[in-house]
């Protein structure tokens, strides 16, 4: 059997390793757009900042591919999939045949249609190692930077650039920072923290135009003002990269539609990682482009490609970001009937959201220990009313679940 994997990110690697763990004989071909071995994009901001050395980005040793019997082909972007003939097409009119196909080509940065944004020199995304290298080259001469978008990648970029000594302006088109993770009140706390570290934060202010001179970008027009800068980072969110699906008949919406076996609607074609969407689950569990989901869906896809039927238990709906060392975690939804709240007077705030007595979301700033316990309660739909106010307290823990059994024992 010949298995072809499109991509060389965590979903692709998790799948390849799972396949090899089961089956030494099948052929595995990995097609990668980039020309470097598997690396983690998550510490890229820290790499730009200078706190993580480059060799720490690479998560496998150089002999990994040969040792695992993986035929890795670098610099080979797939442009088209042809399920009728079980082939994928690469740039340069080269075809690769498959018996089973895994699409794990991830997401790409969303670049809003702003004049100059896609073309100007000095404008970067922060998605790949190449992007990070480009930024590092540019900051040798740049003094001022504009970051477009205040999602978690945008905020990580802001922090890295400040620590590199640049003047940084953050533009957010929506009325608050971290709009996908926080409510207005919590976002205001984060905004204060950014401002306290010297970031110029403009919310409700979208970039309108990139202004250039012979050295590339010289300013960003936003809210009718010119913000002078030599570097722009576009971090306006990520989208599944669906361009390769055209004409393939593989169904997609915001991502490739898969079931709990990571199967697409087309026979022999699976998908995993940032590129997928789960249409069969509640909204908050549908599209969740984070690392743990890439790894877990890659593994599940692998089992099913080998014909061992395995269900995915559901994506993790949780995210965490640090803003100048303050941890900020968020899971589930951001609005609900009831909200339990805890704060310590030192800037730490925890909110747990309940609907019909069950946890449906939460936001935690400053004190995030135990987020996993709350997140698990949400996933399992555990009745939470009996815990009362304790739910939002940092001391809320696994111990609270032991109480009923202890009560019997110690009665």
């Amino acid at each position: 059997m010949k298995i072809v994997i499109i991509g060389n990110g965590p979903a692709a690697i998790a799948a390849a390793e799972t396949i090899r763990g089961q089956d030494r004989s099948c052929e595995i071909v990995m097609l990668s757009r980039e020309s470097v071995p598997f690396y983690s994009p998550c510490p890229l901001a820290e790499y730009v900042e200078g706190s993580v050395p480059k060799d720490h980005l690479f998560l496998r040793d150089p002999a990994f591919y040969s040792r695992s019997g993986i035929d890795i082909r670098y610099g080979r972007p797939v442009i088209r999939i042809e399920p009728q003939t079980r082939q994928v097409w690469l740039a340069g009119n080269e075809a690769v045949a498959y018996d089973q196909l895994l699409i794990a080509s991830g997401s790409k940065a969303f670049v809003p249609p702003i004049p100059g944004l896609a073309t100007a020199k000095g404008v970067f995304e922060l998605k790949t190692l190449d992007d990070a290298e480009g930024i590092l080259e540019r900051i040798k001469t740049a003094r001022r930077a504009v970051v477009i978008g205040s999602g978690f990648i945008g905020l990580e970029a802001v922090q890295a650039l400040i620590r590199q000594g640049l003047d940084v302006t953050l533009l957010e088109a929506q009325a608050q920072v971290l709009p996908a993770m926080l409510d207005r009140e919590m976002a205001a706390i984060v905004q204060q923290r950014l401002t306290a570290h010297g970031v110029q934060v403009h919310t409700g202010c979208g970039a309108e135009r990139i202004l250039e001179n012979e050295n590339g970008v010289r300013a960003v027009m936003a809210g009718g003002c010119e913000i002078p800068c030599e570097l722009v980072i576009c971090a306006a969110g990520v989208r599944a990269d669906l361009s390769i699906l055209e004409g393939s008949g593989i169904a997609s919406n915001r991502g490739i539609l898969v079931n709990d076996h990571m199967q697409t609607n087309v026979d022999g074609v699976f998908a995993a990682g940032d590129i997928i969407e789960r249409p069969d689950v509640p909204e908050k569990y549908r599209v969740l482009p984070i690392w743990p989901n890439a790894v877990s869906t890659g593994r599940i896809a692998a089992w099913n490609m080998l014909g061992i039927a395995t269900r995915h238990p559901g994506l993790e709906a949780v995210n965490v970001v640090r803003v100048f060392d303050t941890p900020i975690a968020s899971f589930g939804t951001q609005t609900a009937e009831d909200c339990l709240r805890w704060q310590d007077g030192n800037g730490a705030v925890r909110k747990v959201l309940l609907q019909e007595g069950r946890v449906i979301g939460g936001q935690l700033i400053g004190e995030i220990n135990g987020t996993g316990v709350l997140h698990e309660m949400m996933k399992k739909g555990i009745a939470a009313e009996r815990f009362g106010e304790a739910l939002a307290h940092p001391g809320f823990s696994y111990a609270h679940f032991m109480q009923p059994s202890r009560a019997v024992k110690w009665a």
């Binding site: 820290e46 790894v295 993790e316 975690a329 135990g370 987020t371 996993g372 111990a399 109480q403």
Partner: protein
């Protein structure tokens, strides 16, 4: 090659009296000096990886469960969180950890905590230096009531079977005291 089943830490919840000996022993074991006198003088202060959590009259020494399908390893985007090939213990390599806290937000047991000072994930590593010498982890050695045990699953099952059988034959008042009995006896003593 067949792998021998390694010992792990078991918790007998009803024996915990919230004395917190395990917390202190854990912090000392993870200090530079490895002595209490030295540990309290270190900066930053050594951190514990076990927390005795109390709810009303109940307490539970909470720590990492060293899950076989560990969410924290799946979630770690730097390769820092990993499983020791010999002992099966899950641990985080501080050299690689960037303090992204993904492990903290996915662990269903609250097994990892964020150390805000050193920006590293803190969790039970099952004391590799001690177990390599054949000793039990620090928390287990320090526990005065047998709430924490270091056994193979078979040994633990056998011990529990014995305790249950003993209770069935001799009635509830087993010779082995549980945590509440110990507290009661302390109260009665003064």
């Amino acid at each position: 090659m067949e792998k021998t089943v390694s010992k792990t830490i078991f918790t007998v919840v009803e024996n915990c009296v919230a004395c917190k000996s395990c917390e202190i022993a854990c912090a000392v074991e993870h200090s530079c000096s490895k002595t209490l006198a030295g540990a309290i003088l270190e900066t930053p202060l050594p951190q514990r990886r076990i927390t005795v959590e109390g709810v009303g009259a109940y307490s539970y020494p909470s720590r990492c469960q060293h899950c076989s399908d560990a969410s924290c390893i799946t979630a770690c985007p730097t390769g820092a969180m990993q499983r020791d090939g010999n002992t099966d213990a899950v641990f985080s390599d501080h050299d690689r950890c960037i303090g992204c806290w993904m492990c903290v937000v996915v662990c269903p047991f609250g097994g990892v905590t964020a150390d805000p000072v050193n920006k590293k994930a803190l969790k039970c590593d099952r004391c590799p230096e001690r177990t390599a010498k054949g000793e039990a982890p620090a928390c287990v050695s320090a526990c005065p009531t047998g709430a924490l045990l270091f056994l193979t699953p078979e040994e633990f099952a056998a011990q529990r079977r014995q305790a249950t059988a003993h209770a069935a034959v001799c009635g509830e008042s087993t010779t082995k005291l549980n945590g509440m009995d110990i507290l009661r006896s302390l109260k009665g003593a003064n």
